[in-house]
């Protein structure tokens, strides 16, 4: 039995970041799947503040919040390569900045564009594109945000490679245009092809069914 356990939900992109980090670094772990509509008492005990996945349990001690967990993994298994964060403090600050930018701006806006319709969707898409432009510029001359290998910021943005095409198929809208964002689309391909990444993706048809149902529920709840 591994001394590392990861609480996750099969469809959620946040725990998937942790799966990638553990796999890429070759750290042994046990996976515990949560049903988010019926959370286990263990999850509620280990993450009483947010009651969410992912939670990493290491030697019985819980760590929550995906970016906090990624830093913990990097610091605890220092000898396991590849490093997720560079050694130089300025480069580390940049990696942390882009990761936070992704979670604070890109993810919520793409999600909005996916679950809304009409004018709300248009506005969310415009705002998403305004912000994605910065990412496109940042990718100039780079294979990954981390350089030659997948790093902290790449893992944080990884959901784009995994979920954008799923969202586009369900909502029938182009979220990331290959003409406007060629570098981003190349990055998504490179990310998918990086070692250990695609092997851990949930099956596409399952994701489509799950997010289609979720979108329909959310649209039905919208005030008319």
């Amino acid at each position: 039995m591994a001394e590392v356990k990861l609480f996750r939900a099969w469809s959620s992109p946040f725990p998937l970041r942790i799966v990638w980090a553990l796999e890429v670094k070759g750290i042994e772990y046990d996976m515990i799947y949560e049903d988010l509509s019926n959370k286990s008492s263990m999850l509620l005990q280990y993450n009483p503040v947010y009651k969410k996945v992912p939670v990493l349990l290491h030697k019985g001690k819980p760590i929550s919040e995906s970016l906090v967990i990624l830093e913990y993994i990097e610091e605890t298994w220092k000898s396991k390569t590849p490093s997720l964060l560079p050694g130089d403090p300025y480069q580390r600050a940049m990696a942390r900045f882009w990761a936070k930018f992704g979670d604070d701006k890109i993810l919520p806006l793409i999600w909005e564009a996916f679950i809304k319709q009409g004018k709300d969707q248009e506005e969310a898409l415009i705002a998403a594109h305004e912000n994605l432009k910065y990412l496109e510029v940042e990718l100039r001359g780079k294979k990954f945000l981390g350089g030659e290998t997948v790093g902290f910021a790449d893992l944080t943005f990884g959901w784009l490679a995994n979920l954008v095409s799923v969202f586009e198929e369900i909502a029938g809208v182009t979220l990331i245009d290959h003409e406007k964002f060629p570098l981003l689309l190349t990055w998504m391909k490179n990310f998918m092809d990086a070692p250990k990444i695609r092997e851990t993706w949930p099956p596409r048809d399952k994701l489509i069914n799950h997010f289609r149902a979720l979108r329909e529920t959310l649209i039905a709840k919208e005030p008319k």
Binding site: I63, E65, Y90
Partner: protein, 219 residues
Amino acid sequence: MAEKVVLLDLWASMFGMRVRVALAEKGIKYEYREEDLKNKSDLLLQMNPVHKKIPVLIHNGKPICESLIIVQYIDEVWNDKSPLLPSDPYKRAQARFWADFVDKKVYDTGRKLWSTKGEEHETAKKELLEIFKTLEEELGEKPYFGGETFGFMDVAFVTFYSWFYAFETFGEFSMEAEHPKIIAWAKRCMQKESVAKTLPDQQKVYEFALGLRKRFLGE
């Protein structure tokens, strides 16, 4: 090479204050530049094009943005004195988790106290008190959030102390009555020169917030 450190900031920003406390803890000399957020300088727009926000630390010409990222950067570069993050990875994770909690919860809920009215205002007040309760439980009997010494999480939260009078007045509650442990902790932090010299007077901050309220509610 002489280090050149510039901070673009706003005197009342609890986020900017975090950086000022960290710089003071480390004894770093820097140039402070006050920004007018209604008329942002070219330098700010150039150094933080993505968010166009303060604080921005410019170290030898290179910008770092986002207050907690800046504080970590300061801790890593000037690592010869006053460490802000502990050395143990688990304790570091706890410090980051709680600092992130403050970021996610305190500001957005707190600002509703001056930017909303009626039911929304009441809900915000209840939520804020719950948030402070959670923080108080986390503090427990420890002198600081980090344990025996002042650290990262203390830096992240103590700057909000300068806004307590504003919260209390707009929210119509008393922090001392509701959350005495937090007040005791804040006063303990205020005994440190880095904190006492950085945090502005609570009355001045309240007047600043009144100005914000006028803009939001048109009163």
